[in-house]
Each structure stands twice: as C-alpha cells, then as structure tokens.
C-alpha cells in the first residue's frame, strides 16, 4: 500500500537528487493532472493515476504558468516530479510505471461481470414506504423466480470470464422463497465446481422470516447474510413498516442468531437513509456501534422507483444528506480517535481509491460504469437488467435498461449486444461534460441509469446531478479531513487496510 504525501510543501524527508540537478525555474514539462479548490483555503492536485497533493491555493497556477522555482520550492518541486505531476523530460522516464499504475486502476475491468443478482421473489411481508418493488402477496407462481429461469441465470453466470463470481439473492424478501434459494445454491455450487469457478453467495434479507434450518443451510454453503438496519427501534420501524410493528426486533434477533451460527463476519447490515433518518446521524451510528458492528454504510435512499412518487417522506435534498453524512462521519472519527476501530464504508471505498493504487469493486462508483461490466440482474420474471436500479425503473414501466429475457437471450446478446454498446459512451466519466475536467474523476464514477431516471438522458447534467453533488461534497470533505489532522489520515489508512 502506498501512502501518498499529504502536504508537499511540508515534507522534509524525501531523498532526492541535489537541487543543482534540476533545471532552472519553469523549465519542466507538465503531466496530465487536474485541480480543485478546497474550502479550507487549500487546493488539491490529482494526477491521471489518482495520486494527489494538497497544496496552498494558487499552486496549480504557479505550476502551469511555469512559475515554480526549483530552489525556493524545492520540496514541492521534488514531490511534483516524484508523483508524476511534472517531468523534466518531454516523455517521463517512468512512463511505463505510470501506464502500469493506470492499468491497475482500471483492473476491475479485467475479469468482467462478477455480481449476479437473482431477484428470487418479489413477495414481501413488509410495506416500507420507500420500497420500489415488493408485493405483499402469497402468489408464489407469479412472483417467485421459476426454476427454468434460475437454471438459465446460472448458465449465464458460469459463462462470465470472471474466475470469482458472486450470486446475490434479493427480493422482495428473499427468505420467503428459500426453497428456490436452496435449489439455486446447490445447482450453482455443482456447476461452478465442474469448471473450477469460485462462487460466493449472499442473501439480502430483512431477517423477519428467518428459521434455524435456513441458517444451517447458509452455514453449509458459506452464505453471507446482508440485512437492513436503519438505526434505533423507533426509526427502523418507522422506515420499515410491518403489521405488528416488530421489524426492528426481528432484525436484531435475526442478527444475533446469524452471528451465533454463521459467525460475526458472515452478517453485515446496511442503512437506508430516509428523510426521517436525516435528523438522527448520531443515533444511527450509535446503534451500529452498540450492536458490535465494526462498520456502517451511510447511504442515501435512491431516487428510483416508487421512492420519487412519495415526495413528503422520501424526497430530501442532497445538501441535507451531506450535512447528515458529515455529522455521522465526525462521530465515527471521534470514536476512532478514542482508540476504537469503526469504519464508514462509503468513505472507505473512496479512500481506497485515494490512498492506494488499487481499484474498488463497487459498482456505483466506477468508470466505465459498473452496470453490465460488473453487475447484471436476473429478475423474478426472467427479464434481465443492467443494474439493480434498472429493474426498479422497469417497475415504473421504463424498460430502457432491459437487456432481454432469460428464455430467449444468449450471452453475447446480453453482454455485448446493441443495448450494452449504446450505454458505453455515457458510462465513461473521463469523457462526460463536467467530469472530464474534474479533479475527482479517478475517485468518482458515472451512473447513466441515475442520469436517465433523474435527468431524462444518459449523459446527464452535472451542475444539477444528485450523484455529482453528493460525490463532490463527500470527496472534498475527505480531503479537507486528511489535510486537517495527521491522526485522521492514520485512521483512514487503517480503514482501507482492514
């Protein structure tokens, strides 16, 4: 893991050739980099491979206008050369190294689709106000995934060139179709063994229908449980509406049982931040800490599906989310400063991109976008979608991202078909308006599905994009934190190493 310099001007320890080695002021070549001002009076420079320097405002102007003096600015000058912002030769001597680092940053593309989501049923016993897709119904035949479709989905998953695939069961409430899950897991395990493919299983569940036999099966097949916990009881139950108002109790006892039988690491929880949640960042973080989790994912509710129709409850503005996020993050950092390990997952994803040379397999923050390249969704009715959000759009009768049907489509039609190609152009933030000049481009991503659903076209409009506002707000905040206190940088490094 490489820890990059934080404040170029303050670094004292770099071993470098004597300054007389360098040319005089301004006699250097620029390498590709972008910059942006932070709110703390500093600015951040980011090069093509995601290395950064936080410097005093005006430094980019001095560098670009060839005003840098190798004598007066010797430390900064050395940092800029060592971190590939400027070069003494027209083609930098370490061009191969830069190219290899660039390739590493994009290596999430090497193996193609990893995450295969099987929407095993649409049935659910909850009626959450923000839920985009589920149905309260006993009708298994209509709302559960049929075995022919499960077989076909597995067949396609086995054709992925990725040697390690993930089969994720979603709903509705996935455990209501546990017989189908058992069938799918057994079949996928057998098929993957035949061709030596590694497979991980995940069940996304609210844990309400959990039974001991289910956990025994999960233990046998090393299935990971991903559940939902929105915070303390009053908040969780308000968000996750259920007849007896016992969603929270069922989730908590389910988490306990999962930990007992599967082990602590086999169960994780996700928060969904509703409008109501925005007033309770400390309570939400506190709940996760008290329950013994070592991380929390403070994620906003997506503006898809039925969610956009429920204005009063769901439509909150990104500013409020950012305020909520920063308060939650402050508390988490304080908890870490007191000697505990507790991580915020969204920050960790971005920090890994900032502080390490490696990419992160997180589909919502990639360029090219994660849809199809990293994730594919097989819906309960056999239709295939480019991402989870794409199938939610389809519930609103928008089929833009429907790629075909399991009964009829072949592998090439889905993954390399005309539709997949038509999304490619808008999937690359390097060439999107606004993003192409953005200092945070390497840490951010593109989301054509979100652009389409919120702005009416795949390219989108960055100045009014919730995706942009959120990521720009969070990434610049992380840089300001890194620049504010060395202990916070240590905590951040610790998060990405664990």
């Amino acid at each position: 893991m490489i820890t990059l310099p934080v404040t170029g001007a303050e670094r004292k320890s770099r071993k470098f050739l004597d300054i007389s080695h360098y040319d005089h002021a301004g006699n250097y070549h620029l390498l590709p980099f972008r910059f942006v001002a932070l709110r703390n009076g500093r600015e951040v420079l980011v090069n093509e491979i995601g290395d950064f320097l936080i410097v005093d405002k005006g430094t980019a102007r001095r560098i670009i206008n060839r005003k840098l003096d190798p004598f007066e600015d010797s430390e900064l000058y050395a940092d800029l050369i060592a971190n590939f912002f400027i070069s003494q030769t027209r083609v930098p001597a370490l061009l191969e190294v830069i190219a290899t680092r660039y390739r590493t940053k994009k290596s999430f593309l090497d193996h193609f689709t990893a995450l295969h989501i099987f929407v095993i049923t649409l049935r659910c016993e909850h009626t959450c106000h923000y839920c985009q897709v589920s149905r309260v119904s006993e009708d298994k035949d209509t709302f559960d995934m049929g075995r022919t479709h499960i077989d076909k989905g597995i067949e396609l998953m086995m054709r992925s060139s990725n040697p390690h695939v993930t089969m994720e069961f979603q709903g509705g409430e996935a455990l209501l179709a546990f017989d189908q899950i058992m069938y799918a897991v057994q079949r996928a395990s057998a098929e993957s063994q035949k061709i030596g493919k590694q497979i991980s299983f995940v069940i996304c569940t609210n844990l309400a229908p959990l039974k001991k036999e289910m956990l025994d099966f999960c233990l046998k097949y090393k299935i990971i449980i991903s559940t939902s916990l929105d915070g303390p009881e009053f908040l969780h139950n308000k968000n996750r509406h259920k007849k007896r108002n016992d969603s929270y109790q069922l989730a908590i006892s389910g988490i306990r049982k999962c930990r007992e039988i599967l082990g602590n690491d086999a169960v994780s929880a996700l928060t969904t931040t509703s409008t109501l949640s925005l007033d309770y960042p400390h309570e939400i973080v506190g709940e996760y800490i008290n329950l013994g989790f070592n991380s929390i994912f403070l994620r906003p509710i997506s503006p898809f599906g039925f969610a956009v129709k429920n204005d009063r409850k769901n439509k909150y503005d990104t500013d409020r989310f950012l305020e909520f996020y920063k308060k939650g993050l402050d508390l988490i950092i304080e908890h870490n400063l007191n000697g505990n390990f507790f991580r915020e997952d969204y920050a960790s994803i971005i920090l890994k991109k900032i502080l390490s040379p490696f990419p992160v397999g997180y589909v919502d923050l990639q360029s090219p976008a994660g849809m199809i390249n990293n994730v594919i969704v097989f819906n309960y009715d056999g239709y295939i979608y480019a991402s989870d959000e794409a199938r939610m759009l389809a519930e609103m009768k928008d089929y833009t991202f429907q790629l075909g049907h399991l009964d009829t489509a072949g592998y090439e039609d889905i993954f390399y078909g005309e539709k997949a190609f038509s999304f490619a152009e808008s999937s690359v933030n390097e060439s999107l308006p606004g993003c192409s000049d953005c200092a945070f481009q390497t840490y951010c991503g593109s989301d054509p599905v979100l652009n389409h659903s919120t702005q009416g076209n795949l390219i989108g409009h960055r100045p009014t994009s919730v995706f942009c506002q959120k990521n720009m707000g969070i990434i610049s905040h992380l840089f300001e934190l890194i620049d504010s206190d060395e202990r916070i940088l240590k905590i951040f490094n610790n998060w990405i190493e664990n």
Partner: protein, 121 residues
C-alpha cells in the same frame, strides 16, 4: 473582462484572445444550475455572456464578481494542462491497455507526434 449586474441578469464581456470559446463554455456550464446562460459574439475579439437568474435566490453580486473571473482563470489553466499533455495522456492510456505480454515497444507513431516523440531515441 467586464461584469455588469442588474436585478435578474449578469452580463460578462470576455476577450476571446485570452479565453477560448471552449474555456468559456466549460466555465459557464457550471452556472447552468442556477442561471440560463446565453453566449453572443460581439465582435472579432469579444463574446458577451448573459446569465439570467432562474433560482429563487437573489444574485449575490459581490460573490459573483469575484467567482466568475476566478473560475474562468481556472478553466484556462485546465485547458493549458489538457492541451499540453494530450499526447502523453494518450500514450499512457495506449500503453496501459496494450498487450503486456508483447515484448516490443508500443509504436509511438500511432499516438500522434505533436510533442516530437519520434525524434526521441
């Protein structure tokens, strides 16, 4: 650069010899959340940018008088980096995605030669 305000609009007169159309457009793109932005060529050297407020908030003249020139200058700097490093960037990307098992060097002439790569041995 001249910036003129009235209640609902901001008018900026910009010298194209300093700021290219590309720089001007990239800069004012970011104002389109709160303003309708129109460009008009005044003469050979000047372009007039009219920003009409479409948000509920009043125009903050002091803030904009400082922010617009700052943004224009920043986009000018970004443009300089982009132009000067275009070929190196293409070379990095081409090398990154070239077949690494291949022993031979990546053929530079396929990248373009505005920096004179071919003369470097």
């Amino acid at each position: 650069m001249k910036v003129k305000f009235d209640s609902d609009t901001v008018q900026i007169s910009i010298d194209k010899r300093i700021f290219s159309n590309k720089v001007i457009q990239k800069c004012f793109y970011w104002y389109t959340a709160d303003y309708t932005v129109d460009f008009e060529t005044v003469d050979e050297h000047f372009v007039s940018v009219t920003m009409t407020n479409k948000s509920q908030q009043e125009i903050d003249q002091v803030y904009l008088a400082q922010k617009i020139p700052q943004d224009l200058n920043d986009f000018l700097l970004r443009d300089i980096v982009q132009e000067e490093t275009r070929d190196i960037r293409a070379l990095i990307v081409a090398k990154a995605f070239a077949n690494f098992e291949q022993e031979e060097d990546f053929p530079l002439e396929q990248i373009g030669d505005s920096l004179g790569f071919n003369t470097i041995s």
